[in-house]
């Protein structure tokens, strides 16, 4: 009784990575430990895949 499309399913990657930045509610931005804005550190964003089009998201499927 398995739908046809699920023949092509694969285990979702569990991306429980810890990020090196934290949200600053005063700035309304995520900030790195050295005070720089996370959004300006493309190397960090690229490494974490934090801005990519993701598959298998629990909450958003229009990436």
């Amino acid at each position: 009784m398995r739908p046809f499309a699920l023949n092509y399913a694969r285990p979702a990657q569990q991306l429980e990575v810890s990020v090196p930045y934290a949200y600053d509610s005063r700035l309304q931005l995520n900030v790195l430990p050295d005070g720089r804005l996370a959004a300006h550190d493309y190397a960090v964003l690229r490494e974490l895949g934090a801005t990519t089009s993701t598959a298998g998201s629990k909450t958003h499927f229009d990436d």
């Binding site: 739908p3 931005l29 598959a55």
Partner: protein
């Protein structure tokens, strides 16, 4: 006039836009509806024939009449972080927040009604056809025989979820996948199945349209790449995204699509074939753009910020939420 951004704290893509708005001196209030009630609070009154509302978050208080735009990015489920969450409280909080925001004249990126409709991929295919965008032959069916007949006509097929969603129990991903030539389509009866002619692509295209401004990027498929590797999200290629000019007919089709959909923002996926034709795959009404900006250098966050910061509710942008309101429920 303030820009309201509805998103979660972890959303660093939103950060890229907040930083742009900060640099332009445009007031911003960012909040996550998951924090309502609690860290996010609201109040609105309908008295003497007028509506007056206020929102507060992170020590900021904003009048709803002072909102120039609302960006619905990655909002959490309303009231999901209270001590005792419930479906009832979520509905109460969602109705209060979004109902009041609908009472304002702010421009939306994207209006919730337009966004909800735009998530339906079968509807996307239809609208793309009406917008004169090339759409690969597609079948959505629960009839196994229809699937067999379609496979006879189009022997090289891919299958992908109709909704774009992925099963969660247990968590699995369903990438766009090539269908084997000898596939047994009997299981099509157990769930609506989307089959589509495979485009033998030489590149993936991500076209981000903000209002009437287009940023298109191209990621070349490596020569000799595995033809079974269909879904760019799962591909192993490390080819970079590079800026590319959208063909005039594609640009015109994209503008028509967004106008008809009542969307201010859309991230389109196309597959470029060997003849250079761009085939429409889908339009993500809240698609990610940060990874494109990072690799291609295109200033998409700046363009989004420009749209959000444009003069407020008295003007109607080409792709703004006002057009949608005509069709609203």
């Amino acid at each position: 006039m303030t820009v309201l951004i509805l998103t979660c704290e972890q959303d660093v893509t939103a950060d890229m836009v907040v930083a742009e708005l900060d640099g332009s001196g445009v007031p911003v209030v960012r909040l996550d509806p998951a924090d309502l009630p609690g860290p996010v609070a609201l109040s609105g009154e309908y008295v003497h024939g007028a509506f007056r509302g206020h929102l507060s978050a992170g020590g900021r208080l904003v009048s709803m009449s002072g909102l120039r735009s609302v960006w619905v990015r990655r909002p959490g489920v309303p009231a999901s972080r209270v001590a005792e969450p419930s479906d009832w409280l979520t509905e109460e909080s969602a109705q209060a927040l979004y109902g009041m925001l609908r009472s304002t004249g702010a421009r939306w990126m994207n209006h919730p009604d337009a966004a909800r409709r735009a998530r339906h991929k079968p509807w996307q295919l239809h609208l793309a056809q009406r917008s004169r965008l090339p759409v690969p032959a597609t079948l959505i069916t629960t009839f196994p025989q229809a699937a067999r007949d379609f496979a006879d006509r189009f022997p090289d097929l891919v299958v992908k979820p109709v909704s774009g969603a992925h099963p969660q129990e247990p968590p699995r991903a369903v990438p766009t996948s090539r269908v084997a030539p000898d596939a047994d389509f009997a299981a099509v009866a157990f769930g609506p199945t989307l089959l589509q002619r495979r485009v033998a692509k030489q590149a993936d295209i991500r076209l981000t349209c903000v209002g009437d401004r287009i940023h298109a990027a191209r990621k070349a498929v490596a020569p000799g790449a595995d033809p079974d590797e269909v879904d760019v999200r799962f591909a192993t290629s490390d080819a970079p995204w590079r800026p590319v000019e959208a063909p005039p007919l594609i640009a015109a089709g994209v503008h028509t699509y967004l106008r008809e959909a009542g969307l201010a923002y859309g991230a389109f996926d196309f597959a470029e074939d060997a003849d250079g034709m761009w085939w429409f795959l889908e339009c993500n009404q809240s698609g990610q753009f940060g990874f494109i900006q990072i690799e291609s250098g295109q200033p998409i966050a700046h363009t989004v910020a420009d749209w959000l910061a444009a003069p407020g509710p008295t003007t109607t942008p080409p792709n703004g939420g006002r057009a949608w309101a005509i069709e609203g429920h």
